[in-house]
């Protein structure tokens, strides 16, 4: 199964371009790092506020950082997908990559739970107020999973033998 997926992806024009162009891969890597800084900067600040730090930032205002976190995430989803299409085998065979995807899933589920259960209620919270426990938990899970995603991503070439 995975072998045929790898074979199929490697036969695409995108895959050929990623591997054969000298500048495409480094360009995507640079964009991946830019997206990472944007995501960690904006999501990280919101997470800290959700956890009850930086209380002078009104929660409703901190929530305005979400589109910037989303932009960083989309940049990295697109460039990350291009890496995968470029060299699918080295990712599929790497346990570290699957770990990275697992933490990505945790981050996504956390966002879904947070947005449906807590998001709107928090906007009513008074400026400078402490946050409820569920909210602190959402912030802590978010910041932990994003740093884990980053850690495992950077460790890809060093753990296991897929690269």
């Amino acid at each position: 199964m995975s072998e045929s997926v790898v074979h199929l992806l490697k036969s695409t024009a995108i895959s050929h371009a990623m591997v054969n162009s000298i500048w495409l891969w480094p360009l995507c890597e640079t964009l991946h790092f830019i997206g990472l800084a944007l995501l960690i900067g904006s999501a990280g600040l919101l997470d800290l506020r959700l956890m009850g730090f930086l209380r002078r930032v009104p929660l409703a205002a901190a929530m305005q950082l979400r589109p910037w976190a989303a932009l960083g995430f989309v940049i990295n989803l697109v460039t990350g997908t291009l890496f995968f299409i470029g060299a699918p085998g080295q990712y599929i065979d790497s346990p570290v990559w699957w770990g990275k995807l697992a933490f990505l899933a945790v981050a996504m589920i956390n966002i879904a739970v947070f947005e449906t259960r807590q998001g709107r209620r928090l906007l009513m919270l008074a400026d400078g107020a402490d946050t409820p426990l569920g909210c602190k938990l959402a912030g802590a899970v978010s910041i932990t999973s994003w740093f884990a995603v980053m850690y495992l991503g950077r460790m890809l070439p060093f753990i296991g033998k897929a690269f």
């Binding site: 480094p26 890597e29 640079t30 790092f33 830019i34 990472l36 800084a37 944007l38 995501l39 960690i40 900067g41 904006s42 990280g44 600040l45 930086l54 002078r56 930032v57 009104p58 409703a60 205002a61 901190a62 305005q64 950082l65 910037w68 740093f147 980053m150 850690y151 950077r154 460790m155 070439p157 060093f158 753990i159």
Partner: protein
Amino acid sequence: MMEYLAALEGSAFSTWLRESSSIWAYPTVLTLHTVGLAVVVGANWAIDLRVLGLARAIPLDALASTFRIMWIGFWVNAVSGVMLFAADPTTKGTTRLFMGKLVLIAAAVTVMIATKRLLYGRAARAGGATRSAKALAVASLVLWVSAIAAGRLMAYI
């Protein structure tokens, strides 16, 4: 100069960093360098975007403490960066791209300090996001993007 770089490269510490198969040698230092980058650049960009008028509901005053977060990221990267240099000094020490990266970082940090002074220093005006603050914010965005690009391209030389 080259002799000093070669001596450093031959030192036990450099050799360990470069050749050890331990996950705690080169891989961990490199990963810390990425984490530190995300912290210093990410927090700095959050301020820059706010100064440029995005997420306006956030009071600028409330973001003063993010500079402490930036300095933590900066020092993580200063230390991990020196270690990455020590692992490979004869190549890095003679590469224009590396010199360019250092200049870009020096400029970005200078802009970061100037931004803090302008927004929170004694002469800071209420409201904060003046034209000069906006110019610094644009410079900060551009300089960090360039420094990241230079750093990433180091892997290809």
